[in-house]
Symmetry: C2
Subunit: 339 residues, 2 copies
Amino acid sequence: MIQGHTWIFPNPPAIIASSAVGGPFEAQGPLADDFDLLHEDLWLGQDSFEKAEKKLLEQACERSIDKAGMKKEDIQFFLAGDLMNQVISSSFTARTLAIPYLGLFSACSTTVEGLALGSLIVSTGYAQRVLTGTSSHNAAAEKQYRYPTEYGSQKPPTAQWTVTGAGTAVIAPEGSNIRITSATIGRIVDMGIQDPFNMGAAMAPAAVDTIEAHFRDLRCSPTEYDLILTGDLGRIGHQTATDLLNKHGVSLPKDRFGDCGLMIYREDQPVLSGASGAGCCACVTYGHILNRMRKGELNKVLIVATGALLSPLSYQQKESIPCIAHAVSIKYEGGKEGS
Amino acid sequence: MIQGHTWIFPNPPAIIASSAVGGPFEAQGPLADDFDLLHEDLWLGQDSFEKAEKKLLEQACERSIDKAGMKKEDIQFFLAGDLMNQVISSSFTARTLAIPYLGLFSACSTTVEGLALGSLIVSTGYAQRVLTGTSSHNAAAEKQYRYPTEYGSQKPPTAQWTVTGAGTAVIAPEGSNIRITSATIGRIVDMGIQDPFNMGAAMAPAAVDTIEAHFRDLRCSPTEYDLILTGDLGRIGHQTATDLLNKHGVSLPKDRFGDCGLMIYREDQPVLSGASGAGCCACVTYGHILNRMRKGELNKVLIVATGALLSPLSYQQKESIPCIAHAVSIKYEGGKEGS
C-alpha cells in the first residue's frame, strides 16, 4: 500500500536478527556495549583499509545470519551498499556470501534504503529471508573523499568523523516482535551548499523534507514516536533540522529527536561536529536502538537516514551537494522478543 | 511469488514508455534509428564528460516521461544507477527530477536491477508509475577506470568500448502490451580473472549462472524465448558463455542467443571486442529490442544484463573481478501497443 512517498506494510515484516561491528574508536564510545564485535586494530589484520572495511561488513553479515539461526544458504537476497567507489565493500562481501545480490547506493542513507526495499520484498512475499546492511571505514573514507589520514590534515569544526563500522539485519515475515511498519522514500534536496566539510548542514533540509512527508503521508503526529532519529546530521545539522522544523511549525521534544551522529562517540572524543558514514546509522540502529527496543525501553522509532550524494569529482567540478533522506518506522510489539 | 532466485509477477507490469539517447559514435552504429536522440557533440555542450553523462540521462528521462504522456510530478519513484563514482549521474539526475529516488549500483547490469525492482514495486501495488534507467559515457568511464582518452593509450583486443548513452523506461500496471513477467536476481560469480581489459570473459560465467538459474527456477526451456540477450559480454565473453552453456548441456540456437555489446556498433567500428557500459544494455533494450517487440518481430525476450563490480582501487589492490548478472523476461502480448 502506498500513500504519497510512503510504503505501508499491512503485514509488517520482522527484524529477526541484527548486529553491529566496530573499530577501536567506536570501542571507546558510549555505545560500545551494543556492538557484537569491536576491533582493536583499525586494519583488522588486512593489508588495506578497504579490505578492512569489507571484513567489517562480512563479520556483521556472519553475526546476523548466525543470530537468526541460519546459514548463509538460507538467505535469499542480500541488499547492501557503501561509500567506496563502485560499492566494493558490499560487492566483495556479496562474493563471499554467494547470495543473490542487489547493490544499492544512497551514501549514508543506504541503511534505510536497504531496510525499506528488503521490507517491501519480504512483506509482499517475494522473499522470506533477506539480509541487508552497510559499512564505512574512517581511514578508507578519508583517503577517498579527502586526504589519507597519514597526512594529518586539519579540518574545520563543522566536519564529521566517519564511523568505522558495519551493521546488518535479517528480515523475515515472522520470528520477532520488532516490525517495520512503513517506509518513506526521500527525494533529493539540494540547498546549494558546496562545502564537503559541512555535510550536516547540507543534509538537514533533506531530513526535514522526509520527516514532513512521512507525517503528511501517514496523517499522524510526531508524538506517535518515542524517538525520531536522523542518520548523521551531527551537531550543526541537528540544530539546523530542529530550527527548520520549528519554522515549519513542527516542534519535536528534545528528548524525542536525536541523531545517530551525536550518539556513537563521547563528548570528549575529538570528532568535531559528530559522526557520519554509512556505518554510523547502521551500527546505532542495528546495535543500540534495536537493543533498547528489545528491552522494551522504546516502542516506536522513526529512523531517518541521511545521505550526501556527492563524489570528490562533483565537488572538484564545483557542484553543490545533492542530499537525500529515507525513513523507516520500527515498532516493538511488546513482550520478549520471539515470545 | 518467488521460485529460487526468480520473482514471478502474477500481474505483470507494463513498460508504457522507453527511450534511448546516444552520442556521436552510437549515431554511426546499426541501431541509430532506434535512438530517440543522438548527439553530434561528445560533450553535449557541457564543460565536463561527467556533466555530459548526466545530461544524457536527464534527456532519456524527459523523453520517457513525455512519451508516457506524463509530467515528472506523475512519477512516484526513480530507480537508477551508473558507473561513475558515487553514481553521480543518477543522483544529479534525481535532483533535476525531484522524484523520490532509490539509488542502485550493479555496474553494467544496473538496467535490469532497476527494471526488476521497479517491476516488483509496481506489480505489488507499491507504486503505479516508476521510472528506471541508467547511463554511461565513454570518455568519463575511460578517465575514471583507465586513462583519459586524450592520452591515446592503446588497449588489447579483448577490451570493450564503453557506450555513450542512456536508456530509461516507465513502468505501470497497465497501458501497454509489453510486460515484465519475471526477474531472476543473480549472485556474484568470480572465476579469478583480474584483467580489466577482459571483462567479457570475467562476466560470462555470471551470465551463464543466471541463465541457468532462470530456466531451473521457472522449469522452462530456452526455446520459450525468441531471443536471449546478454548485457555486454562482447565477442570473447559471448563465445565463452556459449561454450560454457554447451558444456552444461544447454544449447542455444545462434540466432536466438545474442549480446547487446555485439549489436550497437558496426563490424568496422574500432571497438575491439565489442561494446560495454551501463548505457549499452539500456540503449539496446529500451531502444532497439522494445521497438522490435512493438512491431511484433519478437514476442518473448530474456534480457540478461551483466556487471563487472570492480573498482580501479580493487584492481590496484590485485583483487579479481566479482561479476553478476540479473535477468528479466519481457513479453509482448500481441496487438498494437496500447490497443
